[in-house]
């Protein structure tokens, strides 16, 4: 197990190097010269050239990449063109907000999705099952910005239970989390159901029944720990989708998180900031995948044999 984690961890290094390279390359290919932007309107050709030299934009591509890499490893993501503050510092202010939103959303997805999936699986083709699966279908097929707007319309504008926007109290967290987690909950519910139905047919469940165990124990102890294995993979994938969804949700609810930072810096052509935010998101995704793989391994020890 320990060897596995180390090995898996080492494998993430080339992945990260690749991610950094791609982020670096994309920014190089994007039209628009950062030196022009920094210099501001009406600057002379000479000023721009000086800035370009200062930034190292005239060096060969590979040299630029390695100096970029060196900076990143030292935690230096450069300075924001928009605010002139270090990119790293700004990201660190926004990151906790997005992480909070993402974690609460994924938690919401997991809890709701798994409970719904188990309920469905234990009584297949019942009214409860059909209702849950219909809701899950809606959750999968409706876009999150629409769900967000509908929630704001009913719960904030009409019923006035939750605030419309912002990020101050726990009341602010509820609607964005539902918005962001709805699709995940739906996907997890469907996965849990099919996985659970598959597990219930296994021989060891029959053994558990023959032992005289209660249905509850059979489902939640003997069934769930096996059924959860494919669900974990889905949760991992879902987390990536969630980071992408955060961009939209944060915009809809006017939350100052990483997602909005990405959007704002794209509008402002704030290249170092775009690089920094995209890189941060990628790193988070890689780490989450590492955790998911480790969990998968923990729950499914049989794969060590293969």
């Amino acid at each position: 197990m320990f060897v596995y984690i180390i090995r898996r961890f080492l494998q993430t290094i080339p992945v990260l190097l690749g991610v950094i390279f791609v982020v670096f390359l994309i920014m190089k290919l994007v039209p628009g010269d950062p030196a022009v932007l920094i210099a501001g309107e009406g600057a002379t050709e000479e000023t721009i050239e000086t800035i370009r030299n200062d930034l190292g934009l005239n060096d060969p591509l590979l040299v630029q990449y390695f100096s970029y890499l060196k900076d990143i490893v030292q935690g230096d993501f450069g300075e924001s063109i928009r605010s002139n503050r270090p990119v790293f510092d700004e990201i660190m202010v926004r990151l906790p907000i997005t992480m909070e939103l993402a974690l609460i959303s994924i938690l919401f997805s997991i809890v709701l999705g798994m409970i719904a999936g188990i309920l469905s699986a234990t009584k297949p083709n019942s009214i409860a099952d059909i209702t849950i699966m219909l809701l899950a279908l809606i959750g999968v097929s409706f876009p999150s910005f629409w769900i967000g707007l509908m929630l704001i319309f009913y719960f904030s504008v009409q019923l006035q239970i939750f605030p419309v926007a912002g990020w101050d109290s726990w009341m602010h967290i509820v609607l964005p989390s539902i918005t962001l987690g709805a699709m995940g909950a739906a996907i997890i519910a469907r996965m849990t159901r099919s996985s659970m139905l598959d597990v219930i047919r296994q021989d060891y469940i029959r053994t558990a029944r023959a032992k005289g165990l209660k249905n509850r124990v059979i489902i939640y102890k003997h069934g769930l720990k096996n059924a959860i294995i494919p669900v974990i993979t889905v949760i991992g994938l879902q987390f990536g989708v969630l980071l992408g969804g955060a961009v939209i949700t944060e915009t809809v609810f006017a939350i100052n998180g990483l997602g909005r930072l990405i959007v704002d810096s794209i509008y402002a052509r704030d290249l170092p900031m775009i690089q920094g935010t995209v890189l941060t998101a990628s790193v988070i995704f890689v780490i989450v995948n590492l955790i998911v793989d480790t969990l998968y391994r923990y729950f499914n020890k049989r794969i060590e044999l293969d």
Partner: protein, 340 residues
């Protein structure tokens, strides 16, 4: 004959049917047998004869839907299990009547240690604490002949060989000292030398603990070596019910005879085997008369028209065949093949 009070289980006219899109499958259709204390009863037959469904019906482990026990009685210690509540059944399962299955590979939960899976039985049925239950689990592993049981208890099923896993299943089943052990093809998935170990172990433990065993198998060799009494099943019905000695010395039902002739002999050379022609009938579409009639070398008119009863013969065994009834000679349409 065994004493009446020794009787611990009696199955009467058991019927378990499956209601599917294709129709009603009468998997078990009127099965009777008796199990006495300390005795081993074999239920033998080929795939689809209903032997496993019968054993699952005793503990009411049939998945419903599509399966349903539609008739009969399962009398255990004087009470009909088919009219008991689910809660009462739970107290009986794994406690007074235990079961082991064919596939030791898949019958143990892959994500829990084998010790935990055995200890669970003690916690549920004997209200033991975790520590005490674990200690008992290790004792059980020792009882079934697993070397270094303390370490093995902590292992998960995939770390054990097939034979070891079946030992674990036996340990689990015998934890509460049950009165009946139902063994559903316990050695079919195992190699023959491991099968010999497991059968030996079961015999030893049965002598020690005195439980009755119902041995479900397709292997006549296993029946002959382990069983006192045998019920031969074909297409959902018992066709012959006799002591093992009588069955193998003087098989009566044409199906039993056919089954024995199909087996390659280990003592003499045969140019060809006496196979039973044809195939088992579909459970959705059973013949009207005797279910074996379409494959039977002796069948005549009456066999295709009416189902014979399971009747006593002179030597105390029972057989479901028109040949052993007074009606047989009355029928004029005698075929060339008589009773040999």
């Amino acid at each position: 004959m065994l004493e009446q009070e020794d009787k611990i289980l009696e199955v009467r006219q058991l019927q378990t049917h499956f209601f599917t899109d294709e129709g009603i499958s009468k998997a078990v259709d009127g099965v009777d047998f008796v199990l006495h204390k300390g005795e081993t009863l074999g239920i033998v037959g080929e795939s689809g004869c209903g032997k496993s469904i019968t054993s699952m019906s005793i503990l009411r482990l049939i998945d419903s839907p599509p399966g349903k026990i539609v008739g009969g009685e399962v009398v255990f210690k004087g009470e009909n299990l088919l009219s008991k509540s689910e809660a009462t059944m739970r107290k009986i399962r794994g406690n007074e009547i235990s079961m082991i299955f064919q596939e030791p590979m898949t019958s143990l939960n892959p994500v829990f240690s084998v010790g935990e899976q055995i200890a669970e039985v003690f916690r549920v049925h004997q209200n033991m604490g975790r520590k005490e239950a674990w200690k008992k689990a290790v004792e059980m592993l020792k009882l079934v002949g697993i070397p270094s049981p303390e370490e093995r208890a902590k292992q998960e099923p995939h770390e054990l060989s097939g034979g070891m896993r079946q030992r674990v299943m036996i340990a689990m089943a015998l934890s509460c000292n049950p009165e009946i052990l139902i063994a559903d093809e316990p050695t079919t998935a195992l190699d023959v030398t491991i099968q010999a170990q497991i059968l030996e172990l079961m015999k030893t433990l049965q002598n020690e603990l005195g439980m009755g065993v119902i041995m479900i198998t397709h292997d006549l060799g296993v029946v002959s070596e382990t069983c006192d009494r045998v019920a031969v099943m074909y297409a959902g019905k018992v066709v012959e019910y006799a002591t093992a000695d009588d069955l193998f010395d003087q098989p009566k039902h044409p199906y039993t005879i056919g089954l024995m002739n199909s087996l390659p002999r280990m003592d003499i050379d045969q140019e060809s085997l006496q196979a039973i022609p044809g195939n088992v009938p579909s459970p959705y579409n059973m013949p009207n008369g005797c279910r074996f009639a379409p494959r039977c070398p002796h069948a005549k008119g009456i066999c295709h028209d009416a189902i014979p009863e399971l009747r006593n013969t002179d030597d105390g065994s029972q057989v479901r065949c028109w040949m052993y009834t007074p009606e047989w000679e009355d029928h004029s349409d005698i075929t060339k093949a008589g009773v040999k």
